[in-house]
Each structure stands twice: as structure tokens, then as C-alpha cells.
């Protein structure tokens, strides 16, 4: 026997065809329950709204007026790989420039554990970003979830791998590290924007946050390879804040772009 609640559950999952012709047990309930019947009837009828011939003609002519063949965006995987390539190339350049003296001083676990986490984090961010470039792509989390997830995972790993001590002067050094990490994230911005330019993001704020996070990871990686101040509080406060700040700045810039676009659309 079906009750009203299970009818609603069925209706959630029903496709258009099932809604048009409900299976027998559902139909039995609909026949005796006027409220479910009404709701079902409402959901089964798409009620497409006919537009005036003039409107249809106007729209068609507008599109035909500037109709040119376009090259479809590459697949999400391809774009994600391109983001990863940018990340790796800029990171390699930065490390080559700044140095990797810390890499020799760390334990293998500290070095490789963090490197692996950074690479996974950057890869996921790149894949997420590739989805933001086109409308209607699968999205498993928003920009806030992406940043929080990435940074929390990295933060946890830092707390596990590095000693919990705060030697004197750690705060001042943290500020120095943060500044260097943030500034050295900037070179990644130009190639990322170049990759993003072909997209049609529906949320520039989200794209800004994702791109900022990815660029900030370059700075974070550079600090990991060069900074020899092994203290968990320092690494969290001085290193991990670089991608966090970069994501925040990216988000803010994205919002500025959105506001600008809206004001232009309002003028038009």
C-alpha cells in the first residue's frame, strides 16, 4: 500500500515518462487521494509556454545574424590536465629560482607526504575548476567546500608530520613566509587566466576562488621546499595561509567582475 509520503518519494525519482503514465500501485493511490492526484497532475504536465511568432522570429534572426562555427571546449579531463601542467611548470620554475634547501633537511615522510598531498589537492582543484568553465557540469561542492576541504586536509597533514612547537620568533617568520608565498603565487595567475578565457563561467566568484587556490598552491609548494623552520604552528600560519589568502583575493576579484558585468548588462 502506498501512502502520500511514498508517492512524493516516487515522484522525486520519476522521469517525465513515468510521470505521464504512473505505474499501477501509484495510480491506485492517486485515484483515492485528491491531493496527491493534484500534485501529480501538476508535475506531469510540463506546460510549455508558446511564445509569439514575432518573438521566435526575433530570437532566431538575432542568433543567425552572428552565426559562426565554433570549436567546442576540450573535455574536462584535458582542461584539468592543462591546469595541472601550468601548476607544475610554474612551481618548478619558482622552486628553481628560490631553491630547495629544505627538501634535503626534511625527513622523507615529511617531504613526500606533503608533496603528494599538494599534488592531489592541486589536481582536484584543477578538475573542479575545469567544471566551472562550462554551464551545467557536475559539481560535487561549491568554492567554499573546495577551499575548506583542501586546506583542512593539508592542515591536518601538517599537524601530523611536523613538531608541535613554536620556537621564539615564529610569528615574525610566519609573516615573512606568508608574504613570500603569496607573492610567488602571482606568476601562476597569468597562465591560469589564459586557460580560463575560453570558458563561460556562470560564477566568476567561484572561478576566482578556485584559480586563486591553485595559484596559492604554487606559493605553498615553494615554501615547503625552501623554508627550514619545522614547526606545525608556523607552517599552518605562515605557509597554508598563502593559498587561503590567494583564494580569498581571487573570490573578491571574481565578484568585482560579476558586478561589472551586471552593471554593463543593466545599461544595455
Amino acid at each position: 500500500m502506498h501512502d502520500c509520503e511514498s508517492i512524493a518519494q516516487f515522484l522525486e525519482r520519476a522521469g517525465a515518462a513515468e510521470r505521464a503514465a504512473p505505474p499501477e500501485p501509484i495510480r491506485a493511490h492517486l485515484e483515492q487521494c485528491p491531493h496527491c492526484r493534484e500534485l501529480w497532475r501538476f508535475m506531469a504536465d510540463a506546460e510549455p509556454a508558446a511564445l509569439t511568432p514575432q518573438a521566435e522570429e526575433r530570437i532566431t534572426q538575432t542568433l543567425l545574424g552572428s552565426l559562426q562555427a565554433v570549436r567546442p571546449l576540450p573535455s574536462r579531463t584535458m582542461i584539468a590536465l592543462a591546469f595541472m601542467a601550468v601548476f607544475l611548470a610554474v612551481s618548478a620554475l619558482t622552486v628553481a629560482l628560490v631553491g630547495w634547501s629544505s627538501a634535503q633537511a626534511m625527513t622523507t615522510l615529511q617531504l613526500l607526504g606533503m608533496l603528494a598531498a599538494i599534488l592531489v589537492s592541486a589536481g582536484l582543484t584543477g578538475f573542479w575548476l575545469s567544471g566551472e568553465m562550462a554551464p551545467g557540469e557536475k559539481r560535487w561542492t561549491g568554492p567554499g567546500g573546495l577551499c575548506a576541504g583542501s586546506l583542512a586536509a593539508l592542515g591536518t597533514l601538517i599537524l601530523v608530520l611536523f613538531p608541535w612547537e613554536a620556537p621564539p620568533g615564529w610569528l615574525a617568520i610566519s609573516i615573512k613566509c606568508f608574504r613570500a608565498g603569496f607573492v610567488l603565487s602571482l606568476p601562476a595567475v597569468a597562465p591560469l587566466v589564459w586557460l580560463l578565457r575560453r570558458g563561460f563561467p556562470l560564477s566568476w566568484g567561484a572561478v576566482g576562488a578556485g584559480a586563486g587556490l591553485l595559484a596559492g598552491m604554487v606559493g605553498f609548494l615553494m615554501l615547503h621546499m625552501e623554508c627550514r623552520f619545522y614547526s606545525a604552528p608556523h607552517i599552518v600560519l605562515g605557509h597554508l595561509t598563502a593559498p587561503l589568502a590567494a583564494a580569498g583575493v581571487g573570490y573578491a576579484l571574481g565578484k568585482v567582475i560579476e558586478a561589472y558585468q551586471r552593471s554593463r548588462a543593466a545599461e544595455a
Binding site: C4, A8, E12, F42, E47, P48, T62, A69, S75
Partner: protein, 177 residues
């Protein structure tokens, strides 16, 4: 859609003809004037046109196009937030649309009104499910959410609608049916 990307004029006109009625219904809802709704539709198609290279051949068209439609709608509402959009009667779209869904216009309208009382995010999910015939997964893609959240919104909306129908003794009166 692929032919549209390749600049085929016949396919382009066909696409406008087949998708516009559901897009218009989604954009308009029950609370718009016809002219305003058609303006929004035109704006939506302009965005579709600009974004047409981002459609990936082989993937479903509806989540892609409704994601743009949703964005157009949110944008238009934001711009016009100062205008009281509830001023205008919902019948406008029905009566001005010859050949629009004629049967049982009154029952349809009353439920539209109840839908209008739902929270915005639930309204949107109900409209997308109703108007486009998309699956939960596709609606999730169109709204940039997860399947779980879409499902929850649909569930809450249906329950609320049913409660409202019960409380208001609807469908009453015309008990003939």
C-alpha cells in the same frame, strides 16, 4: 546542438523552436508579464549563443541550457529587485499565449500560486523538474548543486505543497473531476 555549433542555420532555428517553450515557462513562472518573460528569453538565448562553444558534444543539452537559463533568471531578478514583480497577474502569460496548454488552466494556476509560496530554492527545483523533465542528476547539474540537495528540496517542496493543498481544501469546489 552540434549542428548549431557548426553554424547550421536550419538546426539553429529548430533549436530555438523546440527549446524556447520550456525555457519561457521556466523563466516566466506565474508572475511575469508576457513581454518581460520574452525579453528574458531573448537575453537567455544571447547568453546561450555566446556560450555555445562550451557545450560538449555528447553530453545532455538540457542541464547545460537550463544552467544558463537559471543564471539569466537570477540575474534579471537581481536587476529588477526594486520592481514589485508580484504586481502583475499570472493569467497574462496564459491568455496571451494562443495554443499554450489549454486544459484545466485553473487548477494549474492555483498550484503555480502555491509553488510561488515555497522558498526560492525549492521553487526552482520544482519548476525545473516540472518544466524540463530533467532527472534529479540533471537538475543538480543545472543548479550547480548535488543530487542529494536537489532531492531534499524536491522532497520538502512536495510535502509542503501537499500540506497546502490539504489545508486549503484544494482541490475543492469543482469536485466533478
Amino acid at each position: 546542438m552540434q549542428k548549431y555549433q557548426q553554424a547550421d542555420p536550419v538546426a539553429t532555428a529548430e533549436l530555438v523552436r523546440t527549446l524556447s517553450p520550456m525555457l519561457l515557462r521556466f523563466l516566466a513562472g506565474p508572475i511575469q508579464t508576457r513581454a518581460h518573460a520574452e525579453d528574458m528569453l531573448q537575453e537567455c538565448w544571447l547568453r546561450v549563443h555566446k556560450a555555445r562553444h562550451t557545450y560538449r558534444p555528447g553530453s545532455p543539452v538540457l542541464p547545460w541550457i537550463f544552467a544558463i537559463a537559471r543564471y539569466t533568471r537570477v540575474d534579471a531578478y537581481r536587476r529588477r529587485s526594486s520592481i514589485d514583480r508580484r504586481e502583475l497577474p499570472s493569467e497574462d502569460l496564459e491568455t496571451a499565449a494562443p495554443g499554450a496548454a489549454e486544459p484545466e488552466p485553473s487548477t494549474g494556476l492555483d498550484l503555480w500560486r502555491l509553488v510561488g509560496e515555497l522558498p526560492d530554492s525549492q521553487q526552482e527545483v520544482v519548476k525545473l523538474l516540472k518544466v524540463s523533465g530533467m532527472s534529479l542528476e540533471e537538475v543538480a547539474r543545472a543548479t550547480g548543486g548535488t543530487v542529494g540537495s536537489v532531492k531534499q528540496k524536491a522532497h520538502r517542496a512536495y510535502r509542503k505543497l501537499r500540506e497546502m493543498l490539504e489545508q486549503r481544501g484544494f482541490p475543492g469546489g469543482g469536485g466533478a473531476r
